[in-house]
């Protein structure tokens, strides 16, 4: 079911969404990030890509999974903590970030479903915004089977037609959301249908970065564990966590107990994002570190995204958002790395 | 403790002067508020900035570092290094917006029981109106 929403009606629409928490890109200082918005007028969807993908809304960086304390006789008492979020709407989600969630679904799904993830995932309605203009010069979604107007993982997709949005509801969830505010929407005219189709078809052409024959990379990687390439590519790496923490598909976490007091015993068991780029990620208590240097950590990042994940889930663990390229302090460019892998003799 | 708000002060006292000074206050039965819990260290020079930040993180409402007067350090010059280090910590704490009143340094000799008593009294007096220190306190 396709609809048209006047841009001026965006705020009124949101006001109709009672009972939903709304997350949308807002500007803080000179960067854009998703935040909980209470006033629709704060929202401006004409934004370059957000620094952080909306992943923390569904997979927060820091999450308590249980609380513990000592009883009178000193025996520990534990209480499981399961999130009970309000229903929420993520507005203006980039298609690449939405696709990332479909990859999370594979990771946190399967035989054992991660309760913390799914509690939020199920409560969320994802309203995407097609990238009529690439939000980043390093966008390369088509390379990794995505598209600037991909609908994967979304419930609704908006396409910017100057003064209005072309609104496609893609799921039942999405449809219901539109129905709640029927009056604000009207059916698209033939012209609007054509315009939307044209913009979409052009959008892909505007993306100027890509990896040729990416398909050749995964099999190649299988044999490249000991390649010298990693040392060369990692020379400039600073071993920070930007590429992974800001990646919409990275999902590694670490579980630790944090005491608020040691006597009487009181604390929380917490899971925090972790990253393969930190030396302590693989540090053994023996003192041995199987990934002792940044080369082995860069290798892990690439192999995980373009080899292991492909083997396990038949997909690249990358949606081509380009964040790791644009935000890398030393300009390590995953596109170049993949090119070199492909051409590696 | 029910009733009115009682600030908690962590006091790092050097063993030879300030701790001895507070012992003297005891021997002379001087009275001061029980809000301060002393931690005796060997020298004010051994008080790491991390101790101070950590005390605030653990929920101290005020932190005091006290050592020997310049020239009297049992370890000759430890307190001179302390003086410089603490000055930097103080600058930083104020810069991030912590109330300057919450962090104090003093010279208290083994003979200055009275001074120690007064310092604690005054410290409690300035802390009470400020209320609990929540800024750097770890979320429970």
């Amino acid at each position: 079911m396709d609809m048209i929403l006047q841009k001026k009606s965006l705020a009124p629409w949101l006001e109709r969404l009672e009972g939903y928490d709304i997350y949308a890109p807002v500007r803080q200082d000179d960067i854009w990030n998703y935040a909980h918005v209470t006033d629709g007028r704060d929202i401006d969807l004409g934004y370059p890509n957000t620094v952080q993908s909306p992943k923390p809304i569904i997979f927060p960086q820091c999450e308590t999974i249980l609380e513990f304390s000592a009883s009178e006789d000193g025996t520990p008492v534990m209480r499981e903590v399961i999130p009970e979020p309000n229903p929420f709407v993520v507005l203006g989600m980039r298609p690449c970030d939405a696709r990332a969630l479909t990859l999370y679904d594979k990771v946190f799904g399967g035989d054992i479903k991660d309760p913390y993830y799914w509690k939020r995932r199920e409560k969320g309605i994802l309203v995407g915004l097609a990238c009529t203009v690439p939000p980043s010069p390093n966008c390369f979604c088509p390379t990794v089977d995505g598209s600037p107007c991909s609908t994967d993982g979304l419930d609704i997709l908006l396409t910017d037609l100057e003064d209005r949005y072309y609104v496609e509801s893609l799921t039942k969830k999405g449809e219901n959301l539109l129905n709640d505010a029927k009056t604000l929407f009207k059916a698209p005219t033939a012209a609007e249908n054509k315009a939307a189709a044209r913009i979409k078809s052009e959008s892909e052409k505007k993306i100027n970065r890509q990896v040729r024959q990416l398909a050749e990379v995964p099999p190649k990687l299988a044999g490249m564990f000991d390649a010298s390439l990693w040392d060369e590519e990692a020379m400039s790496c600073l071993r920070c966590g930007i590429c992974t923490y800001l990646c919409p598909t990275c999902h590694c976490f670490d579980i630790a107990d944090e005491l608020s007091s040691s006597s009487p015993l009181k604390g929380r068991r917490i899971r925090n994002w972790d990253t393969c780029q930190f030396p302590d990620f693989t540090m053994h208590s023996s003192g041995h570190n199987p990934r002792p240097d940044k080369a082995s950590r860069l290798r892990q990042r690439i192999l995980h995204k373009f080899h292991y994940f492909v083997v396990n889930h038949e997909a690249y663990q990358c949606t081509g958002c380009g964040r790791c390229i644009s935000l890398c302090p030393v300009g390590i460019d995953i596109i170049e790395v993949l090119d070199k892998v492909r051409d590696y003799a | 403790m029910a009733g009115k708000y009682e600030p908690t002060i962590v006091a790092f006292l050097c063993k030879w002067c300030s701790s001895a000074g507070s012992d003297l206050a005891g021997v002379s039965r001087m009275q001061y508020p029980p809000n301060v819990v002393p931690i005796t260290v060997m020298c004010s020079g051994s008080v790491s900035p991390l101790y101070i930040l950590n005390a605030f993180k653990k929920g101290a409402d005020g932190v005091l570092v006290s050592g020997c007067h310049p020239g009297d350090c049992h370890y000759i010059k430890g307190n001179y290094f302390a003086r410089r280090r603490i000055a930097l910590v103080k600058e930083l704490l104020e810069f991030i917006g912590l109330e300057p009143e919450r962090f104090k340094m003093s010279w208290v000799s083994a003979a200055e029981g009275t001074k120690y008593t007064q310092i604690i009294k005054d410290f409690v007096d300035v802390l009470e109106p400020l209320g609990p220190q929540m800024k750097l306190r770890r979320e429970q």
Binding site: V51, S236, D280, G331 | E91, L92
Partner: protein, 343 residues
Amino acid sequence: MVNLDDLKKEAKRILQDDKVKYVVGYTRSSAGPLASPVFIEDPEKIGELIWDASCVQNLAKFLLDEKRRKGRAKKPDTRPIAIVVKGCDSRSVNVLLQEKYIERKDVFLLGVSCEDLGVVDQKKIAQRFEGKTIQDIKFDLSPELAVTTEDGTVKLPIQEVLADRCLECQANFPVVYDVLLGDKSRKKVDEPFGSLEEIESMAAPQRWEFWQEQLGKCVRCYACRSACPMCYCDECVVDTIAFAVAADTSAEEKAQKIKWIEKSPTKSENFGYHMVRAIHLAGRCIDCGECERVCPVSIPLRHLNKKLEKAAKQLFDYNAGFEPDKPALVSSFRDEDPEDFIR
């Protein structure tokens, strides 16, 4: 004016004469407008070197990698490496020398003077082109640069988008070097700590609000620490586990690793991390601005260090990175150090 060809010539010479293992310099990047580091072993590849206002990074950081590499190697190659250093970068080399982390013979310094200019602040450029996606920036027409966005190319003077640190620079040309390219005249700086005024003028509660919002953004990617040439500890106060593990380290000792700061990016822990970092950089930070530059959520981290730099200067007349043979700020004192804050 630094002549790029001279830089290439010098770099090529030391490679050909086998004076150094490799040269670390700057090169154009496919990732964005700012220069990326490049590691050149082959004299014939020297053409990749560039020098312009996009060369922001402090390459001294790579001296740390080289030291680690040597540490791991069975038969370490003890030849020095060459790095291209700006004034600020050279001061960080001085601090590394002062702290005996490296020896002077470990490094060949290709000094380049920023003269009366400096390097750009990408965020300032972004602000100029509000909301637009910057496709390309050309730096090779100093003192101007050309910015291309979807609606065309615009020229603007580099001076207008210089990094704050360059506006407050204390050493616009290297203070230690083996080769120096460019002019050696001291650039006049009226307000070396001007950028602090805004925050200093706030009332304490405002300052708290300011930092609470800023540090609240921190995602603990540790890019600040990773980019900092002074952050060379093998084990950082925020690391979750002990790296200092030897064959004889007992389980108890391992367990005793103090959690000064928890991994959770909560307010108290973020403050803990950034304050400890600032304290540990007191008298060591030479204001290369990398921590702030690399921060993905643009926390004005430089101010924290700048504040203590100011304190060191004003209270103790100490200037980091100028006198590698003198003791460090916190391992020295003067009888007349101020103590008016002490009762």
